[in-house]
């Protein structure tokens, strides 16, 4: 009995400690982002890695998400005889929810896992300690560029996703199922407001920060993970942890931001 309570307490203390560490990690990174010198080249490299290399995935997922929305939306709206609302249904669900969330999930899968594994292996092979020995701040050198790059890349990817989704909805709804083209686009222009677009941009920026925060933190604190598993197994474990935690966090935050903005 005592063992169970001790275990619970341990779990709780571990949770408390790691949330504290995450907070400190975030604060340190923010300070390092603001601290000169500002070197743009690492940021460009990271935008290439996080953003530009994800474009293909985003194009395909965006197109098919839009097509599914067009197909499903058409068959549901047809029951009420209001197929002309298809455009607004597709555009609103893409811009408000699916665009930011699916883009973030794709980026977690593509770049988040890679960031976590990269930093984890650097930690494991003591490259981060080597940086510290050379008086190079690993936050400034490794992590700050990733934060800035994610903050820039995610909105760009999200809006590319939205455009492709709208095109996908057009292909499924107008080309295949025969909704009037004018109704599709006019419904979209009428129903989407500037606040929806702003919500989309805010969400994608917050998601970008969250993804890099979680992935980089998990990699950076490889040596502190529970059970003290190090090496290849440790890296595989933290990468899995990072992907799962980031995905869940994105969905929770999606709800939180939505309820904050819409209330």
């Amino acid at each position: 009995m005592r063992g169970v309570i001790e275990k619970l307490g341990e779990e709780f203390l571990y949770l408390l400690e790691s949330s504290g560490r995450m907070g400190i990690f975030f604060a340190t990174t923010l300070v390092n982002i603001l601290k000169p010198p500002y070197t743009p080249y690492p940021v460009i490299r990271q935008i290439y890695f996080i953003g530009a290399r994800s474009v293909i995935v985003i194009l395909v997922t965006g197109l098919f998400t839009g097509m599914v929305l067009g197909l499903q939306g058409y068959h549901n709206l047809k029951k009420f005889g209001s197929e002309e609302l298809l455009g607004s249904a597709v555009a609103l669900s893409l811009i408000q929810e699916l665009g930011p969330v699916l883009t973030a999930l794709m980026v977690i899968g593509r770049a988040g896992s890679a960031i976590c594994a990269e930093i984890g292996i650097m930690r494991h092979s003591e490259q981060i300690d080597a940086l510290e020995c050379m008086a190079i701040d690993p936050y400034k050198f490794l992590i700050a560029p990733k934060f800035i790059a994610a903050l820039i890349s995610l909105p760009a990817l999200t809006f590319i996703f939205n455009i492709l989704g709208i095109a996908g909805g057009y292909i499924a709804g107008v080309v295949f199922l025969g909704v009037a083209k004018g109704a599709y686009f006019q419904g979209m222009y009428d129903s989407v407001e500037w606040t929806d677009i702003r919500l989309c941009a805010i969400k994608s920026m917050i998601f970008g920060i969250l993804i890099v925060w979680i992935a980089a933190f998990k990699g950076y604190s490889l040596h502190l993970n529970r059970g003290g598993v190090f090496g290849a197994e440790g890296v595989s474990r933290i990468t899995t942890d990072a992907v799962v935690l980031a995905s869940v966090t994105i969905l929770v935050w999606d709800y939180l931001i939505g309820s904050l903005v819409l209330s």
């Binding site: 460009i44 490299r45 935008i47 290439y48 953003g51 530009a52 474009v55 009420f80 209001s82 609302l85 555009a91 811009i95 820039i152 890349s153 909105p155 760009a156 990817l157 809006f159 590319i160 939205n162 455009i163 979209m188 222009y189 989407v192 407001e193 500037w194 929806d196 677009i197 941009a201």
Partner: protein
């Protein structure tokens, strides 16, 4: 041709992202780079229930402007609706503004019916002839309860 280098790919990516954003923002977000020439007009209604900011203002079914603001006149308990009307449209000062419903989900819009006066409405003028929003429920209840 020079091989695509990292900067070019990143530049292309960012430009595509920005173009997508601008397309959505300008086409759907009603962000105007060049503000349309318009003049403000206001009207008072007893009830505007369902009318929202940004609603369409029509003359003969053609969009000529939009609702820019809705306020409550606390003294008279009347709704004051401000509209931006395109400069190209001249409205006589005895025009009638009425609130109508379009479509099955009931988007409210303002219908303007020009009158016969020779004088035109200028910027900041008020439309005096108004018809309030028609509520189907009120009509039905009137019909049921007054028919004794």
């Amino acid at each position: 041709m020079k091989k695509m280098n990292l900067e070019m790919i990143v530049g292309l990516f960012l430009l595509t992202g920005f173009a997508s954003f601008s397309f959505i923002a300008i086409k759907m977000g009603d962000i105007r780079l060049f503000t349309e020439e318009s003049y403000p007009v206001s009207a008072r209604f007893v009830s505007i229930s369902g009318l929202r900011e940004g609603a369409v203002v029509e003359v003969a079914g053609v969009k000529v402007g939009k609702v820019s603001g809705i306020e409550l006149d606390g003294g008279k308990y009347e709704a004051v609706v401000r509209m931006d009307i395109s400069k190209a449209v001249h409205l006589s000062d005895d025009s009638i503004a009425s609130i109508r419903t379009a479509g099955i989900i009931g988007d409210r819009f303002i219908k303007l019916t020009p009158g016969g006066s020779e004088d035109y409405l200028g910027p900041g003028d008020e439309i005096h002839e108004t018809e309030s929003a028609i509520s189907l429920e009120e009509l039905v209840s009137k019909y049921i309860f007054e028919k004794k």
